[in-house]
Symmetry: C2
Subunit: 330 residues, 2 copies
């Protein structure tokens, strides 16, 4: 099955590049209100999976036991930019569970927030693992391990109780009987689902009463934390923060590497899963903005509208083309 073109990038009078992909929108019953392209093939949702991966943190009582607030829950769902608001909170949180940076299994990478990255270059400071965009997710995993009093070492292995709990929650949300997995950029397992399954899982998380207690309360808290702290779950000026703010409290969205994007829409009881075939984040951002716009949620915020239809600039700052949704998405 060849997926449709979802996003076009123009230059002058020509379409210079195109991005194909697939989109599923589902409700909590699993009914698909949109199935564009192949929504049945297994795909990695990468960091878009983080809200599901945070379920054991809240549902187990670990978050409550360690007195975590919405800010830490948002960080557990974050691909953060490594700004002080992120790194300082993760460091304090690690201290609260009696652990430190060296307990994180993710690798280090520079801050994705340019002023911080440049300041660290000037100060000749090497980034620590806390700067990894997934450090909140990892601290969440460690918090569950501490709460259950199981080994923290090896928490990133697929057979560790924390990862087994993540997989169990995901199988329950999707109805999948088995889950393939790959190793994510942060060394944790990333479980594959179809887009239909992911969208259904997101809808079940987003729809009050769709899941039995205490899971319904846990997922409501996770989605609420993302909506209340858009910059903590992404970063200053990032697409997730821009889209969540533009939708005015009605939607949580979470980007993932290689062109994945997920949305949780309590206001409509819907879940969304987008995968760009070629892995381009620029295309997944435009596709998600288009979906939210079609659902009447995007609003008029100019930064969000600029994700929907983005100018292509040259090095002189002149507009030489644009990135926009294809006819299939309009």
């Amino acid at each position: 099955m060849t997926n449709p073109v979802l996003v076009e990038v123009t230059r002058g009078d020509l379409v210079e590049s195109v991005h194909r992909g697939a989109i599923a929108i589902a409700d909590a019953s699993g009914a698909l209100t949109l199935a564009l392209g192949d929504v049945a093939a297994p795909v990695y949702s990468r960091s878009s999976l983080k809200p599901m991966q945070a379920i054991p943190l809240v549902e187990s009582g670990a978050a409550e036991a360690f007195g975590l607030g919405d800010e830490e829950i948002a960080l557990a769902c974050a691909s953060h930019s490594g700004e002080p608001m992120h790194t300082e909170r993760v460091e304090l949180w690690l201290g609260r569970i009696g652990l430190s940076e060296s307990d994180l299994a993710c690798g280090a990478h520079p801050s994705r927030f340019e002023p911080v990255a440049e300041a660290m270059i000037r100060a000749r400071l090497a980034p620590t693992r806390i700067f990894n965009n997934c450090s909140g997710k990892h601290t969440g995993f460690l918090t569950v391990a501490r709460h259950w009093d199981v080994a923290t070492e090896g928490y990133e292995h697929v057979d560790h109780p924390v990862q087994v709990a993540v997989a169990a929650a995901l199988m329950d949300l999707t109805g999948a009987r088995e889950l393939k997995f790959g190793i994510d950029g942060c060394a944790a397992p990333n479980f594959a689902t179809s887009l239909a399954e992911f969208a259904t899982a997101a809808a079940r998380m987003a729809t009050p009463g769709a899941l039995p207690a205490p899971r319904d309360a846990a997922t409501a808290r996770i989605i609420g934390a993302m909506i209340r702290h858009p910059e903590l779950m992404s970063g200053t000026g990032r697409a997730c923060a821009t889209l969540i703010r533009a939708c005015n409290g009605q939607v949580a969205v979470k980007t993932g590497a290689e062109g994945f994007f997920g949305a949780w829409i309590p206001a409509k009881g819907l879940g969304v899963a987008i995968k760009i075939d070629d892995g381009a984040g620029r295309a997944s951002e435009t596709a998600m903005a288009a979906v939210l716009d079609q659902l009447g949620l995007l609003g008029s915020d100019p930064r969000a509208r600029a994700l929907l239809c983005a100018s292509v600039l040259n090095t002189r700052g002149a507009i030489v083309g644009e990135r926009h949704p294809s006819a299939a998405l309009r």
Copy 2:
């Protein structure tokens, strides 16, 4: 027409992302020895066009009049990394034609060579236009304008004599009667050709005797300069330099933005044009390595083989997947 998948990116047991595209390989007669996908649609070759854009510089006698060597010719074809070997030569060259950085129409961007970029951040030095990866091409345009004693201001406009000469050479090489153009990242016009036309033009440039004098000598000098100075026309560790060195003097290759890649193969009298639909450079590099390997030219250099089949690493440095040619390219 839907182009075939040329490159796959795996993670664990799954193909995570795919890149579609088209490839033309032609000889100097215009006969296509390979036509994979749509090779008739107009596409921008972006920086892969630089060897064609350098033709007036050599053919007009401007290069000779200003005493330019192979090093400057290679820089005219370069998307350079902004290393001292590039920026110092461009600055000296500008001085030789009585001009300076302020005459360049391209915008500034940071060096693409990390040690230089970091050193400039530490020294709080803003990049100049000389650091633009296209500054050699622009200095080449200015050199022609000086040689012809026409206005240097406005040399980047499509109706300036230098750009008119570029378009005329390209129409002559391709047989195209008109050329659409867009504005490139560096503010110069970029002319669109089909992949078949680009590959034919490259083959004519690469095949001794295929073009009338003095164009045959000019194109031979351009291709020779790229082959003799792989790092000057790209940068330390860059794909172009790696592939040219691996092919041991038999091939010049030149990458372009948005997934274009061109090759000039004097040893076989062939030209190659590759366009990845979605604009991904990672895929164009793998596709070009695959084409050169199929032609028996790639050799055994491990860095070049690593472009053909590249490991996907996580932030811990572990191998979690790979990028490789699809069945259509094997």
